[in-house]
């Protein structure tokens, strides 16, 4: 099943995030045990790692989340660090996904800007949503227009509306606003 394959491929991106704050000497098997949250016969060491994870993140462990398609409209929700988005997109490109849309959301109370990528597949129904949260005062994220050329225009539009800078983009000029526009209208504190 495509969904399982993608989920497994994308969870590999989360291992690095998990391994870093934990004890660097811990072997990979224990880190995987902490992720899966399934008890493995690793006796005391596995349990301590699990406890550490539980202390830091009492909610669900990070990783690609399967969502209920009937209510949400997509299958997989992947929240990543901005730097990891490129690797996730490369995985999706290898599996012949296509990019539907890129957009931004302004979470002004949390002082963050979120970039949301929607992916879909021509052959088998599997919608994947990749997200990344950026700092509102300096929103930068590497571009994916070298992987998907369609992202070129989507990123320009998101830059127009939110001011998110896609580093490495060939020409980040205004697409929908006038060429000399210096405002970003969809920010919540935008005044005309």
């Amino acid at each position: 099943m495509l969904l399982e394959k993608i989920k497994e491929a994308l969870s590999s991106l989360y291992e690095e995030i998990q391994a870093a704050p934990e004890t660097p000497a811990a072997p990979e098997a224990e880190v995987k045990a902490a992720e899966e949250a399934a008890p493995e016969p690793q006796a005391a060491e596995g349990e301590t790692v699990q406890e550490e994870v539980k202390d830091e993140e009492p909610s669900a462990p990070p990783g690609p989340k399967e969502t209920d398609y009937k209510t949400k409209g997509y299958h997989l929700d992947v929240e990543l660090e901005p730097g990891k988005v490129g690797a996730a997109v490369e995985i999706l490109n290898r599996e012949n996904f296509f990019l539907e849309a890129i957009t931004g959301v302004d979470w002004i109370e949390a002082q963050q800007l979120e970039v949301v990528y929607d992916f879909n597949n021509f052959t088998e129904l599997c919608r994947v949503v990749v997200r990344a949260r950026l700092d509102r005062s300096n929103p930068e994220i590497p571009t994916i227009s070298h992987i998907y050329q369609g992202a070129n225009w989507h990123e320009r539009e998101t830059h127009d509306f939110f001011g998110i800078v896609f580093t490495g983009h060939p020409n980040l000029e205004p697409l929908l606003l006038p060429e000399d526009a210096d405002f970003h209208p969809l920010l919540k504190d935008f005044k005309a």
Partner: protein, 165 residues
């Protein structure tokens, strides 16, 4: 003819003026200037059912140099405004402007507090002669607008008025 700066002729020929204005009214050539949804109703007016050729106005010219009337059909965005002004300036005299649709009259449904992108009406920077309300106005409304323009050009109404019963 609106607020154009045309030098009045030194000698007036009354009946010649009348014939000239009749000729102008009978063959108003519009410019293909559909911006948005109203453009489709303009095309429908020029097409088979609501034939605009009956009134001599079916020759939609793309070049402004060959047009008499600019039908502003659609929303004018701030990015497009200089282009519209340039096109209007390129038209030779005598020229008229019809504002078709709510967007060309006053911004239409896209006026909200904090709007940043559109010009609220064509008459903010163009001298408009006829306003045709509607979103989009029916082809019959556009025909009525053109007949009103003919009345403005010739000075008398040449076609029957539609009576509301």
């Amino acid at each position: 003819m609106g607020t154009q700066d045309v030098q009045p002729p030194i000698i007036h020929f009354a009946s010649l003026d009348k014939i000239l204005s009749l000729g102008r009214a009978n063959s108003l050539w519009p410019m293909t200037f559909g911006l948005a949804c109203c453009a489709i109703e303009m095309m429908a007016t020029g097409a088979s059912r609501f034939d605009l050729a009956r009134f001599g106005a079916e020759v939609f010219r793309p070049s402004p140099r060959q047009c008499d009337v600019m039908i502003v059909a659609g929303t004018i965005s701030k990015k497009m405004e200089p282009a519209v002004k340039t096109l209007y300036d390129q038209m030779p005299e005598p020229k008229w402007v019809i504002a078709m649709g709510n967007c060309a009259i006053s911004g239409g449904p896209f006026v909200f507090e904090g709007q940043y992108g559109i010009v609220e009406g064509a008459d903010k920077f163009l001298p408009v002669d006829i306003y045709i309300p509607g979103c989009p106005p029916r082809p019959e409304a556009l025909i009525e607008g053109i007949l009103e323009l003919e009345e403005k050009v010739t000075g008398f109404r040449r076609w029957p008025r539609v009576e509301a019963k």
